[in-house]
């Protein structure tokens, strides 16, 4: 190791190998086109090639890969949701994540921390008990814990939250983890590329050609591409794509903001979420505190960030950790979250043949990257929704069969 490093240092040429080919000119046609080079689009491409042998695939990304919500999220991976369908789905994702660094041969810094959802009121405790029972029922490790266990895991926290909202207990979810988000996109990109998938950056889809209810192809900033299968995996841009095919959905775009503190020595092992104080926090492998809150309160299709957000967030963080009052916030940003009325995603087939939707990922989609890629690849390859995503179908709204996840997803992402 030391010798190799020395040789590399003295070698004079430090050229890093590219992760994937620098594709510039698309072919005339592909078996499938994926719009959006975020984690979801790239994972779908990877599993199309790996699980189904479909490699004549183009991923079209209008910016750079991972530059959307994939590179903006606060990287929490967990499966302690509220509905059995949600818990099963996210649990399958957590299991894929656990082996993903090895599979993609890239260090995702996947770090298992344990995840506390703090309850400050009796009614919040009731929701925690409910979630714990649903989780246990389907075999996911979650349990309600008292303040003693919280104090042991995080002795730095003021359990009274400056007297404003004393903590009564928490839902503890042992598998809760964090990871390096952009590496997930890069790992899937390299894997897909090595099997033949072509990834085009700086390539925007401008319209979609549909004839007799069947997708024919896409017009892009690099010309027309004909294809019978298009996957839209564009998160906060979904309404702009569905508009191209005249598809109405319940998705509304709200900005979601986050920020990080200056780096500190490691002191916070766990991931903490407080619904009442509208904050969550973890410490990254770089030592920064990664902090976020609930959605911005109204629809905006923009990634602007606001002072109101940092002001509200930091005052609550200081309620929990008074000693942080002198710590600086060094970066703040926003992503466009594609929110659904039931806080569950919209996945699968649509009324337009060959147009597949992977959307409604709102504030909760990073953790689902592997499983959504896998199930969407299955759905595209077989033109049939994968069993795990049946309850996330678009038609559930007109069938009044919503999947109520709000209680588990509105603050804790």
């Amino acid at each position: 190791m030391a010798y190799q490093l020395l040789k590399f240092a003295l070698g004079g040429e430090y050229k890093e190998p590219r992760f994937f080919r620098d594709c510039q000119t698309p072919k005339k046609s592909y078996d499938a086109v994926i719009i959006g080079g975020g984690g979801h689009g790239l994972a779908a491409a990877y599993y199309l090639a790996k699980d189904h042998g479909i490699t004549n695939v183009a991923v079209l990304e209008k910016g750079y890969i991972g530059g959307g919500n994939t590179g903006r999220n606060t990287t929490i991976v967990r499966s302690n949701y509220l509905t059995p369908d949600g818990v099963n789905f996210y649990d399958a994702s957590v299991k894929l994540f656990e082996g993903l660094s090895t599979e993609l041969d890239i260090n995702l810094f996947y770090s298992n921390r344990g995840h506390f959802t703090l309850a400050h009121t009796e009614s919040a405790m009731r929701t925690m008990r409910w979630r714990a029972e649903v989780n246990k029922h389907v075999g996911v490790e979650s349990r309600v814990v008292g303040t003693d266990e919280i104090a042991k895991a995080c002795p730095q926290m003021d359990l009274s939250c400056s007297g404003k909202a004393p903590i009564q207990g928490a839902l503890y979810h042992e598998p809760g983890s964090i990871a390096r988000h952009d590496a997930v996109a890069w790992g899937y990109a390299r894997g897909a590329d090595s099997m033949g998938v072509e990834i085009f950056q700086n390539t925007e889809v401008q319209s979609i050609d549909v004839k007799d209810g069947q997708v024919q192809g896409v017009h892009t900033s690099r010309g027309y591409i004909s294809t019978g299968k298009v996957l839209s995996a564009v998160a906060g841009f979904t309404p702009r794509i569905t508009e191209m095919v005249d598809l109405k959905t319940p998705i509304v775009i709200h900005p979601l903001q986050a920020c990080v503190s200056e780096p500190m020595k490691p002191w916070l092992d766990t991931i903490l979420v407080s619904g009442s104080l509208h904050v969550y926090v973890s410490q990254s492998s770089r030592g920064e505190l990664v902090m976020g809150s609930s959605l911005d309160p109204y629809e905006v299709h923009s990634t602007r960030s606001t002072f109101d957000f940092v002001e509200g967030l930091t005052s609550h963080i200081v309620d929990m950790f008074p000693f942080l009052s002198n710590v600086k916030v060094v970066r703040q940003w926003a992503g466009m979250a594609d929110i659904t009325p039931d806080f569950a995603p919209i996945m699968g087939k649509t009324p337009i043949k060959g147009f597949y939707l992977d959307a409604g990922w709102g504030t909760w989609g990073f953790k689902a990257t592997p499983i959504s890629g896998k199930t969407m690849a299955y759905t595209m390859a077989n033109d049939k929704a994968h069993d795990l995503i049946h309850s996330f179908r678009l038609s559930r709204f007109e069938e009044y069969e919503l999947t109520g996840e709000k209680g588990a997803a509105s603050v804790g992402h």
Binding site: Q206, P239, R240, T242, E243, K248, T249, P250, I251, V252, I253, P297, Y298, E299, V300, H301, S302, T303, R304, T306, D308, M336, P341, F397, E398, E399, Y400
Partner: protein
């Protein structure tokens, strides 16, 4: 601080308001089909552009309409329901297809 003009109470900080979602015409519940009703409840024209929206001034309990560009977050007009100023046409100008970042 972002400001919004309440037609009854004047210009106020945004924190005094709640967003009530896009304004949509309600179909007749007695005659509409299940699908029409479901579409009214759930489906919306959610692409960015100038939208008519419900807003609520919470200290006074005033519901009103705002015409707002959801891409640039500019408010073009606010008025009480049914009291649209003449100048405001009901056609929706499409937002330019430019990137928001």
């Amino acid at each position: 601080m972002k400001l919004l003009n309440c037609p009854m109470n004047g210009t106020r900080p945004l924190s005094e308001f709640l967003f009530g979602g896009e304004f949509r015409e309600m179909p007749n519940p007695d005659t509409s089909s299940d699908l029409e009703w479901a579409s009214y409840v759930h489906y919306r024209d959610n692409a960015p552009g100038v939208k008519k929206e419900w807003w609520y001034h919470s200290p006074s309990g005033t519901w009103f309409i705002a015409e707002r560009n959801t891409l640039s977050d500019e408010v073009l007009a606010t008025y009480l329901y049914g009291k649209a100023p003449d100048a405001t046409k009901t056609t929706k100008p499409r937002a330019k297809k430019e990137q928001s970042e």
